[in-house]
């Protein structure tokens, strides 16, 4: 048989491609549920690490089923908001309809486009609220979760991850616990041009909404700074107003106390 004729070549390649695609489609279908379960557990681990449900290492040592249970035990409410700050969807807890990490990219695009965003908000028992952030690092996407205290103003915890930042430099945003611990207790100045500052020598200014950039990872730090600010801006209308009233309330309480003392 002449294996070099045109007809043979076309038929041969067609058959090879059809067989290969059938094999891959079959495998993707069979493994799909297991991969989704892994992706979901990964999202929950990062979220709960930020929320401080358990230490990060413990979460990564817990198997998928227990992670789902842990989430179900600890979540209070989960919903999505639009850019106007109002609720526009429900992330039913019972169905575990959490927004996977892989869905953050389209959300990021929606924020930049200024329409069509459904930004997730997860409120854990005890009042800690977790929101995601997403942006571009030096080599690829970076993302993370920031947990807010019930006052929606101070940060309770954070977790960052990346696809391909330089190990030992940009990858520190994920690998170094001291970096994410720096965010604890810092504030988000809702309403300001830059609600948070991750910059060289930023902490030296003494402002409560600053964290120093990582030495040697300028581009990753810049990307993270952008990601934080773009996403905080998107959440501003939701938390900003609440935080404002909260501040008013505290102010009122203080005044009452002062008055009480005077009397």
């Amino acid at each position: 048989m002449n294996t070099n004729s045109n007809v043979y070549t076309v038929i041969y390649t067609t058959i090879v491609v059809v067989i290969v695609s059938a094999v891959l489609a079959f495998v993707a279908m069979k493994l799909g549920p297991a991969q989704d379960a892994n992706a979901k557990a990964e999202t929950l681990r990062q979220m709960m690490s930020a929320a401080g449900v358990k230490p990060t290492e413990e979460l990564y040592a817990t198997n998928n089923a227990d992670i789902l249970q842990l989430y179900a035990d600890n979540i209070e409410e989960a919903y999505t908001i639009g850019l106007n700050g109002e609720k526009n969807g429900d992330l039913s807890i019972a169905q575990d309809k959490i927004e996977l990490i892989s869905k953050l990219k389209p959300q990021h695009k929606a924020i930049l486009a200024g329409e069509g965003a459904t930004l997730p908000v997860y409120i854990f028992k005890g009042g800690v609220t977790v929101i995601p952030i997403y942006g571009a690092g030096l080599w690829g996407p970076i993302w993370g979760y920031v947990a807010l205290n019930p006052d929606c103003y101070t940060i309770a915890g954070a977790y960052f991850d990346h696809e391909s930042e330089t190990p030992g430099l940009g990858a520190k945003i994920k690998d170094e616990p001291w970096f994410r611990e720096k965010f604890v207790g810092k504030t988000i100045e809702w309403g300001e041009e830059r609600a948070f500052k991750l910059d060289k020598n930023a902490e030296a200014t003494g402002a409560p909404n600053t964290v120093d950039a990582i030495t040697g990872a300028t581009m990753t730090s810049k990307g993270l700074n952008e990601a934080l600010n773009i996403w905080f801006k998107a959440y501003e209308k939701h938390f900003g107003v609440g935080a404002f009233f909260h501040a008013l309330e505290e102010h009122a309480i203080e005044e009452t106390n002062v008055n009480a003392e005077e009397e």
Partner: protein, 203 residues
């Protein structure tokens, strides 16, 4: 026959090592050798991909139209790589490692060793020797990967397989973590290899 098979297996690991002698597959050797765990998974993945791709291409060798043989090989290799990647993603224990290796698993497709062994060996040999040749080349590649990763993880993070080995007072060397150091280390390995094996020395 047995002698020939033995050579097929041992040659790629020692005298004809794809990295130190043929200098193929260097790029991924620089990229995934920061930690031993990642290097080990990468080594296994490449071994499986080269072995099975060689086997499949050897089975098809008499039917592949000569003009499109590279494309057919590429399709077979791509299929194997996607399979490995999908399986790693599906396993609960391997998911984290797959995440860490990220694009480099997918980039096994471009690893010269895979296509090189198919072109040079599998298309002209029977399936079983082709399978062994592919596996052995993957192991030869993996061996160097693990040696490089051993030094990089030890000096760059003070750990081995994630366990602290060097005392906490050791300050990790950042240069070791960056890809250029892998190239320097690789150069040293090639140097040692050539110094030990007189056959490899050129005039």
């Amino acid at each position: 026959m047995a002698q020939k098979l033995k050579e097929t297996i041992l040659n790629p690991i020692l005298k004809g090592n794809p990295i130190t002698v043929l200098v193929l597959g260097i790029c991924s050797a620089l990229a995934v050798t920061v930690q031993l765990k990642g290097a080990l998974v990468m080594a296994l993945s490449v071994t499986i991909v080269t072995g099975l791709s060689s086997l499949i291409c050897s089975l098809l060798r008499n039917t592949i139209p000569n003009r499109v043989r590279i494309i057919v090989q590429l399709v077979v290799v791509a299929m194997m790589v996607i399979l490995v990647d999908q399986i790693l993603k599906a396993g609960e224990a391997t998911y984290a490692i797959d995440k860490q290796l990220s694009v480099y698993i997918g980039l096994i497709i471009t690893n010269c060793i895979v296509m090189g062994r198919i072109e040079a060996f599998a298309l002209g040999n029977k399936p079983i020797p082709s399978l062994l040749d592919g596996l052995a080349n993957g192991l030869g590649y993996g061996l160097i990967l693990i040696v490089v990763a051993f030094f990089r993880e030890l000096l760059g993070s003070g750990t081995l397989f994630g366990f602290q080995v060097l005392p906490a007072s050791y300050i990790p060397n950042n240069l070791v973590i960056l890809p250029p150091f892998a190239l320097i280390l690789l150069g040293c390995i090639i140097w040692v290899h050539r110094a030990l094996d007189k056959d490899l020395q050129e005039d």
